[in-house]
Amino acid sequence: MTAPSAEPPLIAFRDIDVAIGGRPILTGINLEIYKGEFLCIVGPSGCGKTTLLRLAAGLLPPGSGTVSYEGKPVAGPQRDVAVVFQDYGDALLPWRTAAGNIALVYETMGTPRAERAERIAAVLARVGLAEHADKYPSQLSGGMQQRLQIARCLAQEPKLLLMDEPFGALDAITRQDLQDQVLKIVADSGTTVCFVTHDLEEAIYLGHRVVAMKPHPGRIAATYDVDLPYPRDQQTTPEQPAFMQLRRTLLEFIRGAET
């Protein structure tokens, strides 16, 4: 995985303010995400991390300020920006099989029919669902459904992958498994990731950088570089001094932010 370079940012937030129903949600946001970077956003609930992600996805226009993607202002959803939601059950089409859910992407992209089957199989294989192509979401476990949603995003061949607490509803073992899968996929494809979570250890384990936010109104309080080499390991990475130190810093920060 390449470290952030001196190139122009892939996505940049400039002086963003967002208010919903007169209540300020985000204020004074300035943030840049660089190509190939894995950026994690942490913060207590109500700090606007999800709103920030929705701005990046083009699902929500900023009240003031600009969000620019590849140097151009974001006016709506982009084909090469994909979002993984936490509620995989609601984000998948329950009436389509795993393969059918992936096919949706190719149908909307106008991919030639002849190519679809092969590409669907390849994408499913990347998340380890090759054997489950013909199953409906209701026949898959939570972890598998989330992998399917990730696969659907990968089918879009995104330059930017936005993930909104994607593993929050999964058990610890499945979560670790998926963290490693995402790291591997990102390392292979060079996709830029913006990952929202409230799990500090997850943020440190995954990211190049961790952005910490404060609530009322949501703002960026601090940014930390994660000084840990890739590939990371569930066993040894959390035992490294840099990991433990950053965890302590973030924990103190969160306690300070919530009181």
């Binding site: 979002v83 009436w95 949706l104 209701s138």
Partner: protein
Amino acid sequence: MMPRRALLLLASAIVAALIVALWQLVSNLHLVSPIFLPPPDRAWAALLFDIDRGGLGGRVLLTLQHMFFGWLLASFGGILIGSAIGISATARAYLAPTLEFFRPLPASALFPVLIAFFGLTENMVLAVIGFGALWPTLLATINGFATVKPRLYEVARLMRLSRRQFILTIALPNAMPEILAGMRLSLTIALILSVTGEILSGSPGLGHWIMLQARSFRTPDLFAGVLLFGLIGYASVQLVSLLEFWLLRWRGR
């Protein structure tokens, strides 16, 4: 689970057999005059005879046609109009009260109106069925559109689905359970209106036939016709249920 279901099926078959036996007993004991209530064995014999010699088969076929095409008309109309209204939240809000006014309107009240338009024709019968059987499917479609999860709207926006793609790949499949339930209800309405339509228009279907039997006091034949209607209703609803089961297999256990 399976033995329990088989047991229930057996039990319900026994209950049905007991009811027929009771009917036979009441007739045999002449508790009711056979002019009004013929015994089941005579109704059965009349049924076999009428199918064999009386050309009942052709009449049943005609009634099935009325019912089926009327139902198709109502289903397509319901899904089409329902989609057009359902896709827009504004249209839903404006039109829902009016639709609720039309829905409980007894479709048979429309016969005089539509007879004025179409005369005593097959088209009139189809039009009444189409109108009367429209509502369950129409309202189910609208409701099915209204219950698309907000998350799926976002997924659709992110994938940049066109309005048409959204209707075909998300809204209609989402509405499918309700649409199929509506279509099942509308099938029964279609059968009822086929009978009424045939009696009124003189179209030589089963409905018209049982009326003729009643007028000439051939009660075993009348009951044979009623029995046939029961069978048609039961079998057609079972067929749609099977279709429903297959189309909704994604819902899981």
